[in-house]
């Protein structure tokens, strides 16, 4: 059987003072179409490097990526790029501050040669679908809140109908209620359109709420996996789980009212 996305023995080395430094070390995993996967790991574990390789921003040092059975060659071809989209941790930095939101969301369509009017109509539809209002269309990125910016960035990624959506720490700057709303929106989208979602985070407690399958990264290595079928955890992943459980316990202690 062919997977939608298959990563085989992927490694990425950077030179650090003349020595090779493994940002990623022999990573392998595979995804089926429509799957929800979360990549969890502390800062510096290689999560973002992996995401950048998957969307073709940087080339791996070793290893292969297969998309629907076909091996991907770096750099990706222009026609392939829309099929895998990524949203970054700080979308404010990737949005042109001098363009209005409607233009920003329409831009990917214009690049893909969609007529201007049609692009704008589609962009408006997508913006509204992301839970923004009509009044946001003609605002600049600096005039909306952090949660709203993330919705704009999501609309921009989704407008080209990607088959895989990669989300790199998109909720870490948001308050938990806003983060929850956005994740909820994405899970609904996954059910509707069967878009595969890879969600990168360091917050295991949060990932566990939405993602049935979780992969743990630590210092560039895969150190564990939780899925409905299996649980296998090496010590670094066990530690991450312990922190999440400690937090959960702290919170659960306040579920019941104090005894009089």
């Amino acid at each position: 059987m062919t997977y939608q996305l298959e990563v085989k023995n992927l490694s990425k080395t950077f030179k650090k003072r003349g020595e090779a430094f493994y940002a990623l070390n022999q990573i392998s995993f595979s995804l089926e179409k429509g799957e929800l996967l979360s990549l969890v790991g502390p800062s510096g574990s290689g999560k973002s490097t992996l995401a950048r390789i998957l969307v073709g921003l940087i080339a791996p040092s070793e290893g292969e990526i297969f998309f629907e059975g076909e091996k991907l060659a770096f750099p990706f071809s222009r026609s392939f790029r829309p099929r895998l989209q990524m949203v970054f941790q700080e979308p404010a930095g990737s949005l042109n501050p001098r363009r209005k939101i409607l233009e920003l969301v329409a831009e990917p369509l214009l690049i893909n040669k969609v007529p201007k009017l049609q692009a704008k109509i589609k962009a408006e539809e997508m913006i509204l679908k992301m839970g923004l209002k009509k009044e946001h269309l003609f605002r600049f990125p600096a005039q909306v809140s952090g949660g709203e910016i993330q919705r704009v960035a999501l609309a921009r990624a989704l407008i080209v109908n990607p088959e895989v959506l990669l989300l790199d720490e998109i909720t870490s700057g948001l308050d938990p209620l806003t983060a929850w709303e956005i994740l909820d929106l994405l899970i609904k989208l996954n059910q509707e359109t069967n878009t595969t979602i890879i969600f990168i985070t360091h917050n295991l407690l949060f990932a566990r709420q939405f993602f049935p399958r979780i992969i743990f990264l630590f210092q560039g290595k895969l150190v564990g996996e939780i899925s409905p079928e299996k649980i296998s955890l090496l010590p670094p992943a066990q530690e991450m789980l312990a922190v999440a459980e400690l937090q959960q316990k702290t919170l659960e202690s306040s579920l019941s009212p104090p005894k009089a």
Binding site: G41, P42, S43, G44, S145, G146, G147, S172, G173, L174, D175, P176, L177, T178, A179, W180, H202, N203, L204, L205, F206, R208, Q209, E239, M240, V243, A244, L246, Q247, Q248, T250, L251, E252, S253, S254, L255, S256, P257, P258
Partner: protein, 253 residues
């Protein structure tokens, strides 16, 4: 003790920052303020440190040692800011001067706020680094060479270096992964105890606040929704319950 008495902030464009906020921070206590983004958490700090834009109207009183901090002259407040009241701003990782090495950063703070000779300063820097758990070998490093967690700890060390007894921390956990957050909890607990500090922590990170605070205020749209007290944190408001739910993962039905 610091006592905020019906503090209200009205921005020039007519927006209400906070309305009628009253609470007290006892000596040596750790108080948390929980709220969504835009709820007015940072506005309280800005009012306290006089960082609000010009023509902003601030009403109410902030009482400290029988003085109203909102009324004392700027010249007098200048000597309290930093020396008595320390602020760790929201993007603490970005406030470190990128051109100064760690030791110079700390030295600068000490020179500005305290009178120590060179040898004493050196020793103070070493104790500070040890306090926040950073190896002495990092003294010569530039901020860009540090990880996010280390930058936050250096910013914290610099805050303590100023000699402030009241620390105001604005979202100290942003940009930190969960393990570093847990380390920060441990560090803050230790420092607070050792130095007998009074802390006010603003955050939307529920587990973080729960582990540190004696008292938590939940604010929304500039108003206090409820106040949770030490014996047991139990939310009664709708908003508080939703905070707990999203953190715990009980999906709404």
């Amino acid at each position: 003790m610091i006592y905020l008495e019906s503090l209200s902030v009205f921005y020039p464009e007519g927006k209400v920052g906070v309305k009628d906020i009253s609470f007290e921070i006892k000596e040596g206590e750790v108080v948390g303020i929980l709220g969504r983004s835009g709820a007015g958490k940072t506005t309280i700090l800005k009012a306290f440190f006089r960082l609000l834009p010009a023509r902003t109207e601030v009403r109410g009183r902030i009482i400290w040692q029988e003085r109203n901090l909102l009324e004392i002259k700027e010249r007098d407040f200048y000597f309290l800011r930093g020396r008595v009241f320390g602020l760790l701003p929201q993007n603490a990782q970005a406030v470190l001067n990128p051109f100064l090495r760690v030791e110079s950063l700390l030295e600068e703070t000490i020179r500005t706020h305290r009178r120590l000779n060179r040898a004493q300063t050196r020793r103070e820097i070493e104790t500070l680094l040890e306090l926040v758990g950073i190896e002495p070998s990092w003294q010569k490093a530039y901020p860009s060479q540090l990880s996010g967690g280390m930058k936050t700890r250096i910013a914290l060390a610099s805050l303590i270096a100023s000699g402030a007894r009241y620390l105001f921390l604005d979202e100290p956990t942003t940009g930190l992964d969960v393990v570093s957050q847990q380390n920060l909890v441990r560090l803050l607990k230790k420092i607070q105890k050792e130095k007998e500090l009074t802390l006010l922590i603003l955050s939307h990170n529920l587990p973080f606040l729960f582990q540190l605070c004696k008292k938590i205020l939940l604010i929304d749209q500039g108003r206090v929704v409820e106040e949770l007290t030490p014996s047991c944190f139990y939310f009664q408001s709708e908003l508080g319950k939703r905070f707990l739910q999203t953190a715990l993962g009980e999906k709404e039905k």
